[in-house]
Symmetry: C2
Subunit: 150 residues, 2 copies
């Protein structure tokens, strides 16, 4: 069963790799792109963090705007992890490709958790935002722990 | 009259700089962020370009999705051109700050032109997309010519 899942995921990643090679002329373009998407996501996630952690006064409109950008950005980097993008200026560990099923599962989780954060942010309740923020932060950390070199 | 406009724009940029220093802990964070936003925008704009120029078959859904990301990204970099972000790993020329009124006018034009591209893309008409694409490309070039070092 695990093997079937792995094969299915490998197939999905191959399809993705096909798309991404069409989308990026060179592997370094893909690497630059995914790092840029993570950077933009991180900057806006950090702004919500400042409010969740009380360093900056909670501003519901700012949280909603930042959360929407985080949600949009969270969908982007994955197409840029295609074949041949494991070398170069990247901190992505080889497990990104050798344990593609887990990587895919965490990227899907990030998409889901950032959607929850965006929904909570639209609601404007600080406690709900804080809970959803924690869900996203935990997903970032889980993926960085396994797939990103220190 | 020109002086009043310049003062008004300078005031607006000061307000922006206030916001951006609150948003970025260090000038290099702002520089990294704006470059990342331009990178993501450029990647998606380039994909539309491939279709507009006939290198890749025109795919209305892909154009619409890419154009929406371009439109969202086009709003982001400007808050990261605050005071103190003229030094470091940046190609932004000193005119970005000394001719702030013109820079602001071109950044507003990019926002408007990318919104037109996104609207045309939703319409799905290849000729309309091509025209709107030209409007965005011309705005990129005009700003790069004056404000970005080669």
């Amino acid at each position: 069963m695990k093997k079937i899942t792995t094969i299915a995921v490998a197939g999905a990643l191959l399809a993705l790799a096909g798309t991404s090679s069409a989308q990026f002329a060179k592997p370094e373009d893909a690497i630059k792109y995914r790092k840029a998407a993570f950077s933009v996501m991180g900057a806006h996630f950090g702004r919500i963090g400042g409010m969740v952690n009380g360093q900056v006064p909670f501003d519901a409109a700012a949280v909603a705007s930042n959360a929407q950008i985080v949600e949009s950005m969270a969908r982007l980097p994955w197409a840029a992890f295609g074949a041949g993008t494991d070398k170069g200026e990247t901190k992505a560990k080889s497990e990104t490709w050798s344990d593609a099923a887990k990587f895919k599962s965490l990227s899907d989780k990030l998409t889901a958790e950032t959607a929850k954060l965006s929904a909570a942010a639209k609601g404007g309740n600080a406690d709900a935002v804080k809970a959803a923020f924690g869900g996203v932060a935990g997903t970032c950390k889980a993926c960085h722990d396994d797939f990103r070199a220190k």
